[in-house]
């Protein structure tokens, strides 16, 4: 089967990779680009550990064909920090202890980043915050601290450094 050249932009950088069309977006990100922050948990669209943002919208990269992202802009957890500084939600996760084993964290950060950017300044309810991470499983069950971190950013407690 013939390989294809895929051009896409990841965390602001242009890449060209030479892939079989069956290659998943998660495989391109981890195996071809070496960006291993994105995790593969269940590989069945269930756990959300592989969440990345495509054109600002969260998707589960274990179940998206990379070749469908031709010309699109992808953001992974490595792309959240700007000029060496952590983003607001990353700092809020640190301050609120929103990590236990850390495996779900990249996916949680990507889902909450998309959610916060879609809010456009509106203040979400706790229910809306919980819904925003419904596609992400934390197997340590540390949801409350994650919800607190998202809420802190939504309430405007963090500023861009």
């Amino acid at each position: 089967m013939e390989k294809h050249i895929l051009r896409l932009k990841v965390n602001g950088d242009e890449y060209e990779v030479y892939i079989h069309p069956k290659t998943l977006l998660a495989e391109v990100i981890r195996d071809h680009l070496g960006l291993t922050g994105t995790k593969r948990g269940c590989d069945t669209v269930s756990c959300g550990a592989c969440t990345v943002n495509v054109e600002g919208k969260s998707v589960k990269s274990c179940s998206v064909l990379a070749i469908q992202c031709e010309g699109l802009e992808v953001t992974t957890v490595e792309g959240l920090e700007v000029n060496g500084k952590l983003s607001q939600i990353q700092r809020a996760f640190l301050d609120n202890g929103s990590y236990q084993c850390g495996f779900c964290t990249p996916g949680m950060l990507m889902s909450s980043t998309a959610f916060l950017s879609e809010l456009e300044g509106k203040k979400p309810s706790e229910e809306e915050i919980r819904e925003s991470i419904e596609g992400n499983v934390c197997r340590c069950t540390g949801y409350n601290s994650i919800v607190r971190a998202i809420d802190a950013v939504a309430q405007g407690k963090y500023k861009e450094e």
């Binding site: 069956k22 179940s63 064909l65």
Partner: protein, 290 residues
């Protein structure tokens, strides 16, 4: 492990239909949120995969007071969920989408792909059938529109032949004195329904039932209407006793199978309860509606 395939990327709908007609062992991918799972399980291993995700002509939401709602096949679930006009005119569709899988899946998965996949546990079909939706599909030679009621044939099978693509879903304009409700029964909000029920009620000016529609999800090989229960309600002044009777009929008419999630008996019971509750909810909405 996904088997290798040749990748076909048409630039337009016309090209997509031509490519599909030319390749025999070919499957269509749009969001692939269902397809990639079955391909990974090795249940499908097509030689060609036709990618229509970026066929822009099929991505739209249009509404007209007379014509109703038209949703293009490659419109994502999330676009439906976030549509102001759908929230205003067909709130039940937004409520359904909010509980369909996860945000990530809704961001990439499409309405056409969901319906073409024809999983009897899918959420959109029962609601759309309750709303009297039509589906348009077509191939190189022409297209075909039919009520969604008639579209599903069996588990994961539809009336579409090789070469056919889902093109559009059409929902008629909302009627006066109309209500529609949907609920699935599951353990996690973002899961597929163990069973589900949609109900729609239209009332006459005197408050009696003009028409009722009841559609069950994951209660058999296809989403199924319970016409026997619908007929019971027609022309009557609706009350809790009738809703319970309709629920009982739905429970009896359903053809659920047992699996790891629930026994057949349990499914029948829940289908009865959901039918009763959704009818009541739809009825109360219809009473309040203009």
């Amino acid at each position: 492990m996904i088997n290798d395939f040749h990748y076909l990327k048409p630039a337009s709908l016309k090209e997509a239909l031509a490519m599909y007609a030319q390749h025999d062992d070919c499957k269509v991918i749009c969001g692939g949120q269902s397809l990639l799972i079955v391909m990974r399980q090795g249940m499908l291993a097509p030689e060609y995969l036709l990618d229509i995700k970026h066929v822009k002509e099929l991505s739209y939401i249009k509404f007209d007071d007379k014509d109703g709602l038209r949703i293009g096949a490659t419109t994502t679930h999330r676009e439906i969920e976030k549509s102001d006009i759908i929230a205003k005119k067909y709130p039940v569709l937004v409520a359904m989408e909010q509980k369909l899988a996860s945000i990530q899946t809704r961001n990439w998965g499409t309405i056409g792909g969901n319906l073409a996949h024809a999983d009897p546990a899918g959420d959109p079909a029962p609601v759309l059938m309750a709303l009297k939706a039509n589906i348009k599909f077509g191939n190189e030679k022409g297209d075909n529109t039919m009520p969604l009621d008639e579209f599903f044939v069996d588990y994961f099978e539809t009336k579409m032949d090789h070469g056919d693509l889902v093109l559009e879903v059409h929902v008629p304009a909302p009627e006066p004195k109309f209500g529609c409700a949907y609920q699935k029964f599951n353990l996690l909000d973002s899961d597929m329904g163990i069973v589900a029920a949609a109900a729609a009620v239209t009332l006459n000016a005197d408050g009696t039932c003009k028409e009722a529609r009841i559609v069950l999800g994951n209660a058999g090989p296809t989403p199924m209407r319970v016409t026997k229960a619908e007929d019971l309600l027609k022309g009557k002044k609706l009350d809790d006793k009738l809703f319970a009777e309709a629920g009982q009929i739905a429970s009896e008419e359903a053809q659920p199978v047992a699996d790891i999630h629930a026994s057949e008996e349990h499914r029948r019971h829940v289908l009865g309860v959901l039918t009763k509750r959704m009818l009541k909810k739809a009825f109360e909405q219809a009473q309040k509606a203009a």
